[in-house]
């Protein structure tokens, strides 16, 4: 059980939002934590050589940060029972200014029988959506 009363929720209701500031340090930290050392996430010369506009964030970093909006709402990371996203656009992370990813969570659907709620997450960088169909099912 959680502190959230499912009967009080409405589809479309906003449950929270957060802006995440990604810097090159964030990418190096995520590379170390995840073991994904693809150089497109920290080397400009390498990113350019493979035809990218610059260093980009790991899609999994964006995915991992975005779900925190749902986690903070429910207060328990262990209640996220199903979480999926599509990676639609890259997040380019400038060496000096970084990148800001804005995540907004809304109630997508409510399942009273199973006491679960689907949170739909929108994630955008410079007003361009970077995740598609980002949905987290929370067990209440």
């Amino acid at each position: 059980m959680t502190h959230i009363d499912i009967a009080g929720l409405e589809v479309g209701q906003e449950i929270g939002s957060q802006s995440f500031h990604f810097t090159r340090d964030s990418l190096v930290r995520y590379a170390g934590a995840s073991g994904d050392f693809n150089p497109i996430h920290y080397r400009d010369d390498f990113a350019k050589a493979v035809g990218l506009d610059g260093v980009l964030a790991h899609g999994m970093l964006t995915m991992g940060a975005a779900v925190q909006v749902a986690v903070n709402w429910v207060g328990d990371a262990g209640k996220v029972i199903d979480y999926g996203v599509r990676f639609t656009k890259p997040v380019f992370v400038d060496a000096n200014t970084g990148a800001d990813v804005l995540v907004i969570g809304k109630v997508g659907s409510i399942d009273l029988e199973n006491n679960t709620v689907r949170i739909d997450l929108s994630a955008s960088c410079a007003e361009v959506a970077v995740l598609g169909k980002a949905q987290a099912v929370i067990q209440l």
Binding site: Y30, G78, I81, V85
Partner: protein, 146 residues
Amino acid sequence: MVNPNVQGKKYPETAPYLVGREKVREFANAVFSTNPINHDLFAAQAAGYPDLVAPPTFAVLIQERSLHTVIADPEADIDFSRVVHGDQRFIHKRPIVAWDELTSVLEVDSVKSLGAHSMITFKTEIFDRNKNLVCTAISTLVVRGE
């Protein structure tokens, strides 16, 4: 092009991965988690868990180990330098917690071609030491054509 014949192919179980407390904290910091049960043992235990709870995307570490076996498989013929992550999903039977010892079995769910590109979908089942299913990770990679 990815070899369509690997559709349905199952890869051998990976070696056990022991989930460390500090790895959970390190990963939680990397994904901007401030949820106490990812960081604080007492908070996790007060919430009813045996140890620190890993963030919802932590299973990617285990999935990666399985993926490496496929990338290294000459039959699959995947050019990793042309790979882009298309989508990702984690379905949890229970959360991963510190001191779990996890193994995984990967199956190639589908191989599709989309013009010059290939799309390959993997299903990785992650098990604990008692061989109970903890998480199913589903990942689609897009391999860009020449």
